[in-house]
Symmetry: C2
DNA sequence: ATCCTATGTTGACAATAGCAACATTGCTTG
DNA sequence: CAAGCAATGTTGCTATTGTCAACATAGGAT
């Protein structure tokens, strides 16, 4: 017996989607990386156990969010590559900027995507959705090699270097560790420059 | 009234140290990054609230551990530099290896040192103890510049590049994200090579 | 000797993840 | 079209945690 009358039917009808959206909203809004299932349920206007009918676990929901994060990251990077307009140097630069921007704009989401909180992070990152951004990077680098602008070494290794550098800069930046007193004024730009030089392009 | 008799006196006498050591042991042992104050107290054989007489907060203890982590990291890096025997390239290489090894051997501690869980991570990282490893890197790079083996650019920027690369590689590795299928066989070595090239040395 | 204070302990509270038992419905199948 | 079943929500519970408050003990200063 529900006292509210005809509004809010017993069966929500689309709870899974709503839960995901609510949770994603919370992640994007919130700076700090805290996350309770019950809070999500509360915001979704549903009982504290309803989410368990759609996700076996808190980790399951988190995984879903992480995947969505990779989708968004991939979209951002794709756009950036397009903005590069065929010029390799521009493409890579745009990608780097887009990557860093993504992290800066979605701190909690980024932490979720790469943090150790996600159960079985290793498996998650081998899923196609999580691999998409990396594949994009691989393509760009391959084209760079074809254009003779990137040193002739295994692409995957070069991609790893790019990725690690971007990931490192992103997380350090997110946690407020790239303070000018410590690292100089435009540390990020300089680091990216070092990376470029390392891959030998002008 | 304690029923245990004369062993375990009411006042421990050295609880603060024991708590820190216990907590550090837990962090070093444990792969996963979970940490409850009560568990520390339990292992230390003390009531669940005893730690609060020595640390205002859970975060306070974590900060202490993080500082100890930086001390250890600094020690490891210092040893590595010495192992380099004056040759810049060797010094930097040893340092990089030592850094990565530190992360690999102390996953939970590393996460603690750089994770967002630590309250006020930004401030923490500006403390001298946390800056020591970075300062060491700065020195090595400066000597490299004097020896003409490192490109003449602001050291802090170069250091940021090194640091971000190492930090990125470390965390990615820790979370099991540098899978060979994704990133090639010796991604780490290649990434370090790219970094070296970027700083222009032979 | 006496008291004060640092240090420990017990007991509470609120919040959380997750389990179990129960309620409500829409869809299926006879 | 009726009966019932499975999906979806809800309430209530347990174990655990961080932290606060009140109390206990003991070592050292007065």
């Amino acid at each position: 017996m529900r006292e509210t009358g005809r509004d809010q039917p017993y069966h929500h009808g689309d709870l899974r989607r709503v839960i995901i959206e609510t949770a994603m909203d919370m992640l994007v809004e919130q700076q700090a990386w805290k996350f309770t299932l019950r809070e999500v349920a509360r915001r979704a206007g549903v009982s504290h156990n309803a989410p368990y009918k759609h996700f076996t676990d808190k980790a399951a929901l988190l995984n879903e969010l992480a995947f969505l994060g990779f989708d968004r990251l991939h979209d951002s990077l794709s756009l950036a590559v397009r903005a590069g307009g065929g010029d390799f140097a521009a493409e890579l630069d745009e990608m780097a900027q887009a990557y860093l921007r993504f992290g800066a704009e979605n701190p909690a989401l980024y932490h979720l995507m790469f943090g150790a909180d996600v159960a079985a992070a290793a498996e998650l990152h081998m899923e196609p959705r999580a691999l998409a951004p990396f594949d994009l990077l691989l393509e760009v680098l391959r084209r760079g090699q074809l254009a003779g602008e990137v040193i002739d070494r295994p692409v995957r290794g070069l991609a790893a270097a790019c990725w690690a550098q971007l990931h490192g800069l992103t997380t350090l930046k997110l946690d407020g560790l790239l303070r000018p007193e410590k690292v100089g004024e435009d540390a990020i730009a300089q680091a990216l420059g070092t990376l470029r030089s390392g891959m030998q392009m002008r």
